[in-house]
Amino acid sequence: MATRGVSSVIAATPEPSPGSAPAQRAAIAWRLATVVDVVTETPRARTLLLDVPGWPGHRAGQHVDVRLTADDGYQAERSYSIASAPEDPRVALTVLRLDDGEVSPYLNDVLRSGDRLELRGPIGGYFVWNVALGGPLLLVAGGSGVVPLMAMLRHRAAMQARHAVPARLLYSARRREDVFYREELARLAEADETLEVTFTLTDEVPPGWTGFGRRIDRMMLAEVAWPPAERPHVFVCGPTPMVEAVAATLVELGHDPARVKTERFGPTGGS
């Protein structure tokens, strides 16, 4: 699924740093994207592959705002992480269907190839990584929190940065069928001796399962994570309790809190 070959430009205006005078920048414009393909990832999630005219490029880890408009003008907005590498000409969003949601059921059940979708982005300048920032890279995902981390791994693969940046992904999901990008992750790890992908399933472990079978805990992190002395860049993304526990444990294990970047999902009562 990771397409490569098209060079992408990171066109974002240079970020000011905290403490500098506030910068005035151009607004992030709403754009009308077209759905060019839809990929079923799991029984409850699918990836929308979008052609976005005028897309300014993004960095792995950023997100977009999606806006839906009903025929009477009612609108709903939500944010979704970008799953695709900056090198991919299409913008990919993987959307988990929340049964009580307002927007995610539409994106999963109604939207189809050829439809248009209004969005703006890229958004977010902190939970981002690119090859130039170096490694090693430690990615810890819970559930659909894997999406922005997948963009980082796809970027790393597209840049052929395996030797420059060893990477480890620890990915917690409920059941095996809930794992996003399962085949692609297996393929990436198989082709790359400096990428280690470790799964843990929290709700149900199938026969013959070789990964972990519990929630991420201190022992698992001590085993899977780079030692703090390696000073990894750490990105943790998932549901709030998981992120709270993982980030606190990494700090206890000796990781520098300033190198542990987090993004927490919900509970948001439906998105």
Partner: protein, 208 residues
């Protein structure tokens, strides 16, 4: 776009009128209290906690946790709006107004200045105009829903500025620094709006 775009087949889930009127554009109501922060949750023991107001020209007023506890506390009920689109209505807080802190700090020579930078444990910062933290608009909150504020929600104390997007309500706040000139805080330097009025949907830098 010359004509308004309609999302094919989208009906949406409208809120009842009274709720809808309290939701800024692009927001939806949640009964939960989501947590959003950029890094690990800092945990400062109360014995080591203090709170400071720093004037632009240097004077500092400082309170320990016990000293802070005897300042006049107020109860505040407010709707809060997170830039990530959720809003939570009628949240109940308890804390010390920035007005009361300034009044107490005046005796120690701390004078306000046109801008303020809230500074937190863990290195988080956010910037606000003075006018948005005075006149009964902002508090340093220590209780939520009648209970001590939980660490993941910013405890032991967070800034509460409910009329702006909630990233301005800095968690784990330890200091308000008054400044003659505006300085971008943390999210304000990572592409988020410098002011952040939810009713004008000022989410990102460049939004009107």
């Amino acid at each position: 776009m010359t004509e308004p775009f309609i999302s094919r087949g989208f009906r949406g889930r409208r809120q009842p009128g009274p709720t809808a009127a309290r939701l800024p554009p692009g927001q939806y109501e949640t009964p939960d209290f989501p947590v959003l922060s950029a890094g690990p949750t800092p945990r400062t023991p109360l014995a080591n906690w203090d709170f400071m107001l720093r004037g632009a020209d240097g004077p500092v007023a400082r309170w320990t946790w016990d000293e802070f506890a005897v300042l006049p506390h107020e109860s505040v009920t407010a709707d809060i709006h997170c830039v990530t689109k959720w809003s939570k209505l009628d949240t109940m807080w308890e804390g010390v107004s920035v007005d009361a802190l300034l009044a107490a700090a005046a005796a120690r020579g701390v004078k306000p200045a046109p801008y303020v930078l809230a500074m937190s444990d863990g290195g988080y910062t956010t910037n606000l105009p003075l006018a948005d933290v005075t006149g009964g608009k902002a508090w340093v909150a220590v209780k939520f829903g009648g209970a001590p504020l939980a660490p993941e929600h910013g405890g032991p104390a967070r800034l509460l500025v409910p009329h702006l997007y909630f990233w301005k309500s800095a968690k784990w706040v330890r200091q308000l620094r008054f400044m003659e000139h505006d300085e971008a805080g943390f999210w304000e330097s990572f592409g988020y709006h410098n002011y952040g009025d939810p009713w004008r949907e000022q989410r990102y830098s460049g939004d009107p």
